[in-house]
Amino acid sequence: MRLLPSEQERLALFLAGELARRRRGRGLKLSQAEATALIADETMELARDGLPYAEVERRAYGMLGPGDVLDGVAELVDRIELEPVFADGPRLVVLIAPVARDAPPDLTGDPAPVWLAAAARLRVENTGAVAIAVTSHFHFFETNRELRFDRRAAWGMRLAVAPGTKVVFPPGDAREVRLVPFGGARVIRGHGGLVDGPLDAPGALTAALARARERGYADAGA
């Protein structure tokens, strides 16, 4: 056979899945490892049977429900990552809480930003042709030059949103954002390349505004 490591891994999954199937056949409720193994093994076989990706994913959520597992196990099986071999090769399938849920979660919703306590508000317009996403700790003063806002008002400020949040500006759109000042020593390195130094040094803002003008940054305050 000249088994490859991936095939030996498949066998480990099969053995664990088979043990779980037999235990289930004896009427036992399954543990975290058993439930994971059974769903994984059966899902791999759906692809082998020739079902398309969406159908394999859909059926994976119907294999076990909370009544098939020991108390608390539905929550323990929070995520299973698998690579069933489809007709077009192995493809990653990620199952989110497949015991507790009947279907894949809806990944299309994009909630509005939650603003934290802010020091300033600013109207920002995307004058360009592509969407621009700005994150919590980026120096807002030196964001993409196609964003038009009062740059001076954004000096030393960042978005008042939780870390990891992205505020997206669609092309042609304008919206109001809220800002908070940076803490710490207030030294900016990197970011958009307009500052590279202490925010509060004499002349820093003037020099950065000059650089912004030179490089064509849109500025509603200019």
Binding site: L4, P5, S6, E9, A12, L13, A16, L19, A20, S31, Q32, A33, E34, T36, A37, A40, L70, D71, G72, V73, E75, L76, D78, R79, I80, E81, L82, E83, P90, L92, L116, A133, T135, S136, H137, F138, A160, A162, P163, G164, K166, V180, F182, G183, G184, A185, R186, V187, I188, R189, G190, H191
Partner: protein, 540 residues
């Protein structure tokens, strides 16, 4: 910032609440696409940061407390604990991240110090895998394979043992056999690569061996671990205490089924200068513990009950449900400060940590407490498998806690899988063991996800991330090891008061006639546990 929420540890009804949160809030470090872990944002552009930062985990550490925080590591050791980030743009930064700092995102995870198993027979190489997968990163070991030794000696064997450990990412301290009434051989073995002494009745635990070993222990500042005279052939329990004469020793498996004065070894618990420990199959006391031990004692100690005269009698005297029932309670009261495995010599190294928390859960269920949360109980049981065994064997300057200066040996757990399946075991800050999936897949966690070696567990890395604990006389020994050498110290003046969160002393009376155990006159006993936590809900 909202009040920190309590976190459930697995299915044991044990809940911990952070005493403080150094990690959340508006300057939280969030790695990934569009996060804050970027040059100039949450990461300082100039150097000055730590080598490795473990950020945002819920740290459980008997010496630190329960804090959601970040750990900075430099040179393999903890160098800072607190808020992580970039001091150029953030206030109150303790753990500086720079553009060269390696980051481990531990948000949502529980972090404990790597466990220290102070009673380990290293009978086969498979033990190391079981230990690491159980969250153990330091072993106080005897033996070097399936030989009848009850120590790690003589000198030639010790050298081979150290060579074998080059591929194993565990810190190791070897105890040499001190069941000897003359010191020369023991001291020769100690100087050849040992870190402590072991007396075992199967190779003699009489008064001469005890006195000789105590003198050696005092001369070299190492600990003496004792499996006492279970036959009561030369000494009764009280006689052993008299021979020890107030000199510190570590009494193994103090309940007694692991070996030692029958039936009243447990009466030596709760004393000022006797550091006591349990081995794990009796903790917590379970419904099948007595039956299992009748089989286990005979299997491990080469008895032939029913055919060889006396074997059935000594076996029956050694296996006592009523002292087992007292042992778990003495743990809950903090009278027995250490829990260890006795791996493959009547214990399970894979369960050193798990059994501690199974006992905590069982004692909460039976004895109550924890109305305001279980922080105190959780730290008490954690201390039994981390800082206390480290203190007892003179290792505490290096391991057992995540305080600054200690080796960055830590275990990252998902709270809902704690303490059954670790996510990652760091040795000296480097990933040495942990969960990972199919090697050829697009993600690291594609099934089958198994707990096994990580990068620092392979190649020649294990020696670089692990310590060789040695007695002072062995620090310059000619050993085939690349490990950093660490001298054991501060072993001889220890008292019960040095045992973190488990320093209760008192008079433990063991009455064979009524089969009762009392602590300062109050009965101590519990019901056998029918079903333990942290077990069937998880395991295959």
């Amino acid at each position: 910032m909202p009040a920190p929420e309590r976190v459930a540890l697995g299915d044991g009804d044990l809940w911990v609440t952070p005493e403080r949160d150094d990690a959340g809030g508006p300057d939280e470090i969030v790695p990934g696409w569009g996060g804050t872990h970027r040059d100039g944002l949450g990461v300082r552009a100039e150097r000055g940061g730590v080598d490795i930062a473990v950020v945002g985990g819920l740290v459980l550490d008997p010496a630190i407390g329960i804090r959601r925080t970040s750990i900075g590591i430099r040179g393999g050791r903890v160098c800072a604990i607190g808020r992580a980030g970039n001091p150029d743009t953030m206030d109150g930064i303790d753990v500086v991240l720079d553009s060269q700092t390696a980051l481990l995102d531990a948000r949502g995870m529980v972090i404990t110090p790597g466990a220290v198993d102070s009673h380990m027979h290293w009978l086969s190489p498979q033990l190391a895998e079981a230990a690491l997968a159980g969250g153990v990163t330091t072993i106080v070991a005897q033996d070097f394979g399936p030989v009848w030794n009850l120590g790690a000696n003589p000198a030639a064997a010790l050298r081979v043992a150290w060579a074998a450990l080059e591929a194993t990412p565990l810190n190791v301290a070897f105890l040499v056999r001190a069941s000897a009434s003359r010191p020369e051989g023991v001291e020769e073995s100690l100087a050849a690569g040992g870190a402590g002494l072991k007396i075992h009745e199967d190779v003699a635990a009489g008064p001469e061996q005890l006195r000789c070993a105590l003198d050696i222990a005092d001369r070299h500042d190492v600990q003496l671990a004792i499996h006492t005279d279970g036959l009561n052939e030369a000494l009764r329990a009280e006689d052993t205490a008299r021979v020890l004469a107030g000199r510190t020793a570590h009494l193994y498996h103090i309940e007694g089924v692991g070996g030692g004065h029958a039936p009243d070894l447990l009466s030596l618990a709760g004393r000022e200068r006797l550091i006591t420990s349990s081995t794990n199959p009796t903790v917590p006391f379970g419904v099948a513990a007595e039956a299992e031990h009748l089989a286990m004692v005979a299997a491990v100690h080469l008895l032939e009950p029913g055919s060889r005269t006396g074997d059935a009698a000594i076996l029956r005297a050694r296996v006592r449900a009523w002292t087992m029932a007292a042992e778990s309670v003495l743990h809950d009261l903090g009278v027995i400060p250490i829990l260890s495995s006795d791996s493959q010599g009547m214990g399970r190294i894979a369960e050193t940590v798990r059994r501690a928390f199974q006992c905590a859960a069982a004692m909460k269920a039976q004895r109550g407490g924890g109305g305001g949360g279980d922080n105190e109980r959780v730290l008490r049981y954690l201390a039994k498998v981390t800082v206390n065994p480290a203190i007892a064997h003179g290792l505490a300057a290096h391991v057992g806690s995540l305080r600054e200066g200690r080796l960055a040996d830590l275990v990252v757990w998902r709270p809902d899988l704690f303490p059954v399946r670790p996510e990652l075991v760091l040795k000296a800050g480097m990933p040495a063991w942990g969960a990972s999936g199919a090697g050829g897949a697009t993600t690291m966690m594609t099934e089958p996800v198994r707990v096994g070696p990580q990068i620092a567990g392979t190649g020649t890395a294990p020696g670089r991330v692990s310590l060789a604990f040695l007695a002072g006389s062995a620090m310059d020994a000619d050993l085939p090891t690349t490990r950093e050498r660490a001298r054991v110290s501060d072993c001889r003046a220890l008292t019960a008061a040095d045992m973190v969160a488990n320093s209760r002393t008192g008079t433990v009376a063991v009455d064979p006639a009524s089969e009762t155990v009392t602590l300062d006159g109050e009965p101590v006993t519990c019901e056998p546990v029918a079903e333990v936590a942290y077990s069937r809900r998880y395991l295959l």
